[in-house]
Symmetry: C2
């Protein structure tokens, strides 16, 4: 088992806590061979849920006590200072000590970021962590970052995002030379603010990044790039607007197949097919954002994740830890600065 990827799971995080996170971990333990999951949190709750664990996976699952919980509405700075034994804190420490290769948490985003930064530290040359996730597109998906960790970004930070996103797309999706675009409101050189224009110049000069220029937000969904870089305010807004439109369409579809007898009859056959699409593409149902730039793999799951969603966040942690993404980013930065 020495080659297994070890993942620390903050079981207390998220809207449903251990009820969702523990069964999701058990599912992944059954599914993935060389993996070990360390369930971090309240041992009484964890142990009672482990009673119903399927046989044959007990060697892949262990527990680690954490007596405190960071609440979803708690201030990140106070969670960091006053809850040194929170499940987020303890899980991060397991990574720092080398006992785990990655952390997965559905907890308070700000706290995950603050505690991650405090315990794991940033990679040299990276200012702040960026949140990166796969957005589904026409053919597969596109990595978009930052999704809300930093609302104002310098050109240097946008440039760092491009490097980190590029490393992830290569490591996880085996894309040799990922196409990197800068999100802008037009494709012409004159568009955008000063940070974006300067980031474009930095990217044009770097021959190790396959920079393809400015990209408008609608093109994300056409697979026009493998990585799209933007500041956290814009990235978060893209994600939310996309969720909103997807939900609006889902609701309109339900309406149209219920408002007439004809519609209801067709709906019996059409809705099951359509439901499949909504699940495929609703960016809100996608799960797992990587916090890139830290000296360790940290995956943030949606707070409202269900079992399947939380399991996909664990899978993402496995993929990134297996490739040691933080180390790959570090190498790329070292090469570029020499």
């Amino acid at each position: 088992l020495s080659n297994a990827i070890r993942i620390a799971i903050d079981v207390m995080g998220g809207d449903y806590g251990p009820q969702v996170t523990v069964p999701a971990a058990l599912q992944i333990a059954s599914e993935v061979s060389a993996i070990e999951l360390i369930l971090v949190g309240d041992l009484a709750q964890i142990d009672s849920l482990l009673k119903s664990a399927p046989s044959g996976i007990s060697h892949k699952v262990s527990t680690h006590a954490a007596t405190q919980v960071v609440y979803m509405d708690e201030k990140p700075s106070s969670a960091l200072r006053s809850k040194r034994d929170s499940s987020i804190h303890v899980a991060m420490q397991l990574v720092r000590e080398g006992a785990a290769h990655a952390v997965v948490s559905a907890g308070n985003s700000g706290a995950v970021m603050a505690i991650g930064r405090h315990i794991l530290k940033m990679l040299p040359g990276i200012d702040r962590p960026a949140m990166c996730a796969q957005i589904p597109d026409r053919h597969s998906h596109c990595y978009v970052l930052d999704l809300g960790a930093n609302i104002d970004c310098s050109s240097e930070q946008l440039y760092q995002y491009a490097i980190m996103g590029s490393v992830v797309a290569t490591a996880v999706d085996k894309i040799a030379s990922p196409r990197v675009g800068l999100l802008n409101i037009g494709e012409e050189d004159i568009k955008g603010n000063e940070q974006i224009k300067l980031a474009a110049r930095l990217l044009e000069e770097n021959k190790r990044i396959n920079y393809i220029g400015y990209i408008e937000a609608d093109k994300i969904y056409e697979h026009a790039a493998d990585v799209v870089v933007c500041d956290g305010f814009v990235g978060n807004t893209v994600l939310k607007a996309s969720e909103g439109v997807a939900r609006l369409i889902e609701n309109k579809i339900k309406d149209i197949f219920s408002e007439s007898l004809y519609g209801r009859v067709i709906g019996v056959f059409a809705l099951p097919l359509l439901r499949k699409i909504c699940t495929q593409i609703d960016p809100g149902k996608l799960n797992g954002a990587s916090l890139l730039g830290l000296q360790g793999c940290v995956i943030k799951s949606h707070g409202g994740a269900d079992l399947a969603s939380f399991a996909s966040a664990i899978r993402m942690a496995h993929a990134e830890a297996y490739k040691d993404v933080p180390q790959l980013i570090n190498q790329q930065l070292a090469i570029m600065h020499h």
Copy 2:
């Protein structure tokens, strides 16, 4: 006919020019009673298209020569300087002289804005025009501004957008006290950059605006506000991301109803119903953005508008000119500064 609303149509603008703009104008002339449309552009082209005009509307349609055309990729500043007889320029002058109450153009956005500003001038107290359009939501629509006229906005500008959007929602949709939200990436007070936080304080202090706080982009589609205010970079990105998701879903729906025999059979009945939804809600198919803050009504149509879309831009111009939206904004600003 002295009470008719007179609208100057830049017939040369847009991807299809007079082929689309002239028939759209003729349709509106047939449909709306107290209206006069002044077709501005190349008279030879206009006259040949007018030959097929239905009878009984000739008194509602007149022509006005403009010998130059601003191309879609032309620099706004050079179009303003070197093409004083462009159809955009001439149409704006008709409004300034009082010969028309509004302009509709599907031409180069930057040129429409630059020429509009130069000829019509800004309302006192407004720094720059903002682009405002209706975004479809679950129940009706929401006015969002700015959609791309200004990429960096001060808190004062965001505050001006709130006033202008509020006036439009009242004038056009008869909403007595429109709910105004500030777009942000969270609803808590601590979220957002300094401009947004300061704009929130300005709005809280103004008792004439029904400010409801921060709004996340997904809530736009749930009718959580009547007016949503943001900077032009963010607004444009929301619009584009929404278009992208709507198109992605449209394509996925087509795929699913063509990839199996079962799907194809269901599709025969389901697709016509679904097509209706896509037309209703694709923000890219919505047409007509108002340039607010000018001393005159200016409506910008999508460049790629078809006959139906261009006609809806003319309808929007009619609605705003009928209520004299610029004058209403001016009154509101005057009251607030006293």
